[in-house]
Symmetry: C2
Subunit: 190 residues, 2 copies
């Protein structure tokens, strides 16, 4: 039989596309093999097992997300940078819901260490340098921003804001304004 010419990279990319199509949870070796037109067992030449497949899709998504955010961030500072980063994040999630869900996959320690997670926090710190925060406040702020962005987008893609007014878009920009304001007036610790 003719070879399909697959590589681990192609397989993972196809897995990511599949995730965007049917949801990250539903990505399984058998489903992916069906999509690729090969037998399930043949996938095991390219990935170790189902968990490995999911981990690799997660790593791909984190990498792509970091690339987009990095590009959006170039040459910006302050509220401008904050908005660019946040929008890159949200736009990626809306365009690639499966990949975005994958980015939230719980990685084991070594996979996490090899992930683009470091790039993400470095970018956030770069944004926060545009505000007047102590080192410690910066850490708190990184955690806050990470929580808001991931939390908001997750609720939004789950449909949480779909049937209520106003538009999610409206809340999003208002929230970015609010966060900008907060970062410019971060309260002193009691």
């Amino acid at each position: 039989m003719a070879r399909a010419g697959l590589t681990p990279e192609r397989v993972v990319r196809a897995g990511a596309d599949l995730a965007d199509g049917i949801g990250f949870e539903q990505v399984t070796p058998s489903e992916l093999a069906r999509k690729l037109g090969i037998r399930t067992a043949s996938l095991y030449s390219h990935v170790k097992n189902a968990h490995d497949l999911k981990t690799r899709i997660a790593l791909l998504a984190l990498e792509e997300l970091a690339d987009q955010a990095s590009a959006a961030l170039a040459g910006r500072a302050g509220r401008d940078a904050l908005g660019a980063f946040a929008n890159a994040y949200r736009d990626y999630a809306l365009q690639h819901p499966g990949r975005f869900a994958a980015a939230g996959f719980r990685l084991d320690a070594d996979a996490a260490a090899a992930s683009a997670g470091g790039r993400h926090s470095r970018m956030m710190r770069a944004i926060l340098r545009g505000y007047d925060l102590t080192e410690l406040q910066q850490t708190h702020a990184v955690r806050l921003l990470g929580s808001v962005f991931s939390g908001y987008v997750r609720l939004e893609t789950a449909g949480g804001f779909r049937h209520s007014s106003p538009d999610s878009q409206e809340s999003w920009t208002e929230i970015l304004d609010a966060l900008d304001s907060l970062l410019r007036n971060w309260p002193a610790s009691p």
Copy 2:
């Protein structure tokens, strides 16, 4: 053989306990049946299928979470209420990680409508009445708070802050102070 005396409620409660023990994702009919000492097929007298089981655990968790938050909130206002609510939320998640993960399970429309979701947003609005916000700003703020709380706790339980200083606890209280400050100085829309 002697009957185990199960009911849908007992089964779901056992499922929630199992989730706290091994993680919500790993809760399956077969695993739950093993824990209950019955055959897998026997579970199907109590729940329709695996998805139904997960949905019911999610509804239980949302209900419990609302109960705890409601109790914590009683008689408080302002920053006090904000902290009580947020801590109830976070404490529940740390004590019941599986249930908390269940609370984030994507419910279909009718399950969502029958869930305690409404109680949650009503409580948040009650808290926000202690701040001087317009109706519209209140909606934005509800969405922000929901995002922060769910996002933060999710990152924390995923181990996101475990190997970095400062303590998660420290960031948490600082973030609550920051949110309180933000709600007292919500910026006017441009």
